[in-house]
């Protein structure tokens, strides 16, 4: 079945990359293992956004809410109750998905910019509650020293756990996009009126897509909580949502792997640039504006375009040679 979905050479490439990632902890310094874990978590977050943004054409402007809700669910369950850790980790994505259902239910009645702005407002309402409810969420201090099982507290343990979860999630998202539901979603993105006309319940499909994206965003949040063992309100602040949007743009949002690349670039740049300058966000802003002007399809989109042009190249070239000589 897999062969029908993926070209063999992509499968091989993915396998090699995965093998490499499995071996990295044996040789790399702890800092790099940590940064790679951050990249995995961020990549999952960006991909979950791309599910609705790139494939659904939905203006999900406040995706970080689901990330934050997932992370806070873990933190609250583990610090306020005596439930075991795995229940907390499982609960995170479902609470995030439920949040997605509530926010989405309001938002799907609107489209495009109205949708996005309504989502920012509803998401900010969640943020305000987390930010202000000191007794429960710790307010702007956040929650720190979340207890985790021993094996998850080492860098290597967290690395492998995160890698495994991210790979499974990415695989699921890939299957989802290739499924009839994914095809419908893309059809809705390209022409909602026509979809409505042939009897597809557009709102219904959008809502399901938002819930699924919120679920995976929640998984990313859970992974963040396991990696950092602390949570803070910034996780569901709207600025982070726009940063994730930037990652999708940077990588290319009509491509499946683009957001991974975008997340990797942003995290790596932040790590490097913040070593040399206090003005890292200015660097990001300048990159973003350059990108919008010169590379609107993103890095991955650009590469794909080039590859496509190269594959097509022989034919027109031959014609040119013929007419030239």
């Amino acid at each position: 079945m897999l062969k029908a979905l993926v070209e063999p050479r992509w499968l091989v490439a993915t396998g090699i990359i995965l093998l490499g990632l499995l071996l990295i902890p044996f040789g790399a310094p702890l800092f790099y293992i940590y940064i790679l874990s951050v990249i995995f978590v961020t990549a999952l977050l960006a991909m979950s956004l791309n599910l609705v943004l790139g494939y659904g054409g939905i203006y999900q402007f406040h995706h970080a809410v689901f990330y934050g809700v997932g992370a806070y669910t873990v933190a609250l369950i583990l610090t306020r109750t005596s439930l075991p850790w795995w229940i907390a980790l499982l609960a995170g994505p479902f609470v995030a998905a439920a949040t997605g259902l509530i926010i989405g239910w309001f938002c799907v009645r609107l489209t495009k910019l109205y949708f996005g702005m309504l989502q920012i407002s509803l998401g900010s309402l969640v943020w305000i509650i987390v930010y202000r409810w000191y007794d429960v969420t710790g307010g702007d201090n956040g929650i720190h020293d979340i207890p985790m099982p021993e094996w998850l507290t080492t860098f290597q343990g967290a690395y492998y756990f995160i890698l495994a979860v991210v790979v499974v999630c990415v695989g699921l998202m890939f299957l989802l996009i290739k499924s009839p539901f994914g095809a419908t979603l893309q059809a809705i993105r390209d022409n909602p009126q026509r979809c409505e006309a042939i009897g597809i319940n557009v709102r219904h499909h959008k809502l399901i897509a938002i819930v699924i994206a919120a679920f995976f965003g929640g998984v990313a949040g859970v992974l963040f909580a396991t990696l950092e063992r602390s949570v803070f309100p910034g996780l569901l602040f709207w600025v982070l949502s726009l940063e994730i949007l930037v990652m999708c743009l940077l990588g290319g949002w009509f491509t499946f792997a683009g957001p991974i690349l975008g997340a990797a670039i942003v995290v790596a740049l932040r790590t490097v640039a913040s070593r040399y300058t206090d003005y890292w966000t200015m660097v990001l802003g300048i990159i973003l504006i350059l990108l919008i002007f010169f590379l609107p399809e993103g890095v991955m989109g650009f590469i794909q375009e080039r590859v496509a042009a190269k594959n097509k190249a022989p034919h027109p070239q031959r014609v040119e040679e013929g007419s030239g000589s």
């Binding site: 203006y59 949007l245 802003g285 300048i286 973003l288």
Partner: protein
């Protein structure tokens, strides 16, 4: 509960609403004419406040300094906006909203770091002029003079904007261009400059809001982050591009926050958000007709 305390709290809330109105009127004006959701609007508001601080300090925080700052800060912000519009934004109008919002986000990141670079991370303040300092007793209620001043300026801006968009040539062209840009261009009007003017006016309002808020609060980095969300909410519940909607939205916002302070001080900040959700449940596209 002391009724006179309640009323003065409401009046202070209403005064705060006037600043929200001035900022969100600028935002909604730009949204209505240019269809650009300007995330950097809050940064321009912050720049307005910092510029007001610099000018007021140059005059030794005297009364004259405040009045100069009030006039000059919006002009400085307008100049910044003009550079942004002519240099960058004017090349992007054909792009989709998503690109525009990300562009303004990039601007926000750059402007905020520039503010950090120029003014640093310390807290700043502006002294209000003597004539607006202290409180007056009106009909037995204690009201800060500065709040009264804001309650005077807010409606003035509303009337000014109404006059601009309904009675002047520029406003009429801007409204027409927001409905059908190409048609207006075909009629031989230079739409590009109309858009530039609309953007500059909208941003100048952010600067004015920043200058007005300067004496009432400590000016610091990050003051842009809450105002921009609040203005977005106000613009949504008012109806995108509708100035009067922005006025109603701001009043709802400011007053509900005051009422929240009265009953649940800790969650006062959440009250306006709850109002927004209720309004949107009843009228998903805002209270008044959107310009779109």
């Amino acid at each position: 509960m002391d009724p006179s305390a309640v009323i003065s709290l409401l009046l202070v809330g209403l005064a705060r609403a006037m600043i929200l109105f001035i900022v969100s009127a600028g935002l909604t004006f730009v949204l209505g004419v240019l269809r650009v959701p300007n995330v950097a609007h809050g940064s321009l508001y912050m720049i307005g406040a910092f510029v007001a601080f610099t000018i007021a300090t140059a005059f030794g925080q005297s009364s004259a300094g405040f009045w100069f700052a009030l006039i000059l800060a919006p002009l400085v912000v307008a100049a910044v906006a003009l550079i942004i519009e002519r240099g960058l934004l004017s090349h992007l109008y054909q792009r989709e909203h998503l690109m525009l919002i990300l562009f303004t986000f990039g601007l926000m990141l750059i402007l905020n770091d520039l503010v950090k670079l120029i003014w640093g991370a310390e807290y700043r303040s502006v002294t209000p002029p003597e004539i607006l300092d202290g409180a007056v007793t009106l009909f037995g209620f204690n009201i800060p003079r500065y709040s009264l001043f804001l309650l005077f300026v807010g409606p003035l801006v509303a009337v000014g904007l109404w006059f601009l968009s309904n009675k002047t040539r520029l406003g009429k062209i801007a409204r027409a261009a927001s409905v059908d840009r190409e048609m207006v261009g075909v009629l031989g009007i230079n739409v590009s400059w109309v858009f530039a003017a609309a953007f500059v006016i909208g941003c100048a309002l952010a600067g004015l809001g920043g200058a007005l808020v300067a004496p009432t609060t400590s000016i610091s980095l990050g003051m842009d982050l809450t105002i921009i969300i609040e203005s977005f909410l106000i613009v949504i519940i008012g109806g995108l591009g509708n100035t009067w909607g922005a006025l109603i939205g701001s009043i709802l916002f400011g007053v509900s926050q005051s009422l929240g302070l009265l009953f649940f001080p800790q969650f006062a900040i959440a009250f306006p958000y709850a109002v927004v959700v209720i309004v949107l449940l009843l009228r998903p596209r805002g209270l008044l007709r959107s310009a779109w």
